[in-house]
Subunit: 386 residues, 2 copies
Amino acid sequence: MFEFDVQHREGRARVGQFLTPRGTVTTPMFMPVGTQGTVKGLSPQELTDIRSQMILANTYHLMLRPGEGLVEQHGGLPGFTGYPGPFLTDSGGFQVMSLGHLRKITEQGVVFKSHVDGRQIDLTPERSIQVQEALGADVIMAFDECPPFPAERDYIQRSLERTVRWLERCLSVKSRPDQALFAIVQGGIHPDLRDQSIALTLPFETPGFAIGGLAVGESKAEMYPAVAHTAAQLPEAKPRYLMGVGHPEDLVAGIALGVDMFDCVYPTRTGRFGYALTDRGRLNMNSSAPRTDLGPLDPQCDCYACRHYSRAYLAHLVRAEEMLGPRMLSLHNLRYLHRLVEQARVQIVAGTFHTWARNWALQYFAGTIPEWFSEALDAGAAPVGR
Amino acid sequence: MFEFDVQHREGRARVGQFLTPRGTVTTPMFMPVGTQGTVKGLSPQELTDIRSQMILANTYHLMLRPGEGLVEQHGGLPGFTGYPGPFLTDSGGFQVMSLGHLRKITEQGVVFKSHVDGRQIDLTPERSIQVQEALGADVIMAFDECPPFPAERDYIQRSLERTVRWLERCLSVKSRPDQALFAIVQGGIHPDLRDQSIALTLPFETPGFAIGGLAVGESKAEMYPAVAHTAAQLPEAKPRYLMGVGHPEDLVAGIALGVDMFDCVYPTRTGRFGYALTDRGRLNMNSSAPRTDLGPLDPQCDCYACRHYSRAYLAHLVRAEEMLGPRMLSLHNLRYLHRLVEQARVQIVAGTFHTWARNWALQYFAGTIPEWFSEALDAGAAPVGR
């Protein structure tokens, strides 16, 4: 169980198979986010149709409502949500820490006020694992501290040390052998702090490692060197998960740097706001051009929306504030990201990933590829040799 | 084309086949309402899955936004909405008249202000047919005047006469032989005014007749005698459509009285408000009982929601204001009404409709069947003999 088999490589990019209790998933992969036990607006059947592989659910939201006990009574997330495939749950830490003045962090854990009913709640490493065991995902995450950006170097250092102590506490209470616990590397955008976190974290030999603490406000030019630096030092034989990251350009750059797993609310959230992801960038369905366009959103896409509807119809739904609009744009956007990683895998297997990635970016960025992206591709081109 | 074949009868209730350019539909049937070119929240695939037969679309909404020209460029409603089956459009009259102080009715037609952009718009019988021809539904409706309830007898009389003059104008401009225009009988709840309207309307020999002007505020005890009185005088060999009516009890009572077609926003609207239709009445998913109920919404139902979800999960979606909640309750509620008419058809074929209807009502009304319902069943038990 939880074997990870890297089957193809091109530079640092790789294609792998990750074995979970609910099936084998092929990496690189993007995980749709089902915050409250549903990927917003979509059914499990649709997630299967667009070839989602693993769904992320949020411990923080589910422990508050409906409570992990009810999910457990359904046999865990698959029984509760009707999605039969693999799940991953976060630890709740990131969301609790985002509450700002509503929470207090100590060595013991985090005390916060519920956004649902104002109750005061303690979330500790032990409690996070207890909740995640009740939710029953295939992959569960260590309870970590994710400093905001910017943060004092000193605070990041103390915090990454605490994250390791919390990891130890998580592992000591973890009881289900059918769940893989992934450790999380912190350290902000500081290479030496990332090194410290890596040195302290790798000895735990968890079945996978996550790169945490990024995409929290820093620029992509600040973020990608940290991704490159961290991913290069993570074990070749374990999956690497870049947490909370998932714009199209992030998937391509992250894959180049050897990242295997991504998640982000972006495709569904931007869909609800009326935007469609395409190879030519993000299309605003609230603008006037799509309103009279009888062609599909994306002629290359095989999603339900692209096979059945014109841009004009989808723009009409958005304008008329019809529920089917956000639903179909969310579906398309997720399928767009799944297709993007599927294409990346095909290109890695063929040894043409870097050529493809540059051509994709030329079109996506309309001719002007940003420096951070080129640098990420360049960094990924040379194998690290671990 | 537009042949209607009554194949089975029990009292006044009947099972028929209605031939339209986009396929044969079996009556009695309930039509989901797709006001703005979408049954709120649902895809065409889902409508097919729950065995919807004909979708209603609203001329008023579509002429204002996106405009009938755009729908026509898509080859009409099937191309625009992606639903490949038969459609019916209303005339726009009912909705324009509901605008109250924003509209003015004259012999020529109705002048109103658009709720979208405040433009002043003329809707006449001629314009309604022009728009409905562009929308391209299989069945289109005559532009009629639907008086509010209560209204002066005198006004209802003048209005039903005007409705006949408008019907004449509709028929004189109608140009598409692949669309059936249904005339609408008015007359409020007054038997003699209904008789007048019937006498003036039947000679036009349209391929179907609608019973209009009901469910506008009168009680069921006032409404059903008018349905019984009108339906009994409509031709046996033409479909009868009771407009804007479609609570579960209305379908059973209406079918008993010989009605073949129904439409109503109720199943989707009440679904969006968190209510589920069942044989035991309407279930409030906002209440506390479903929150811990691991059983399905309705063990007899074959809809996606009942096959995949517990009541507890659906109640969680409603409470968490997740889009999937209204979507799944709308789906279930439509399937509930489709199953109800499917059961009624089976019972009519078997000659057991009245026994079934009484047993259904005993459970649905929790033991106390209202008088109007029993009277409707009684009236429907004896054939009219036309």
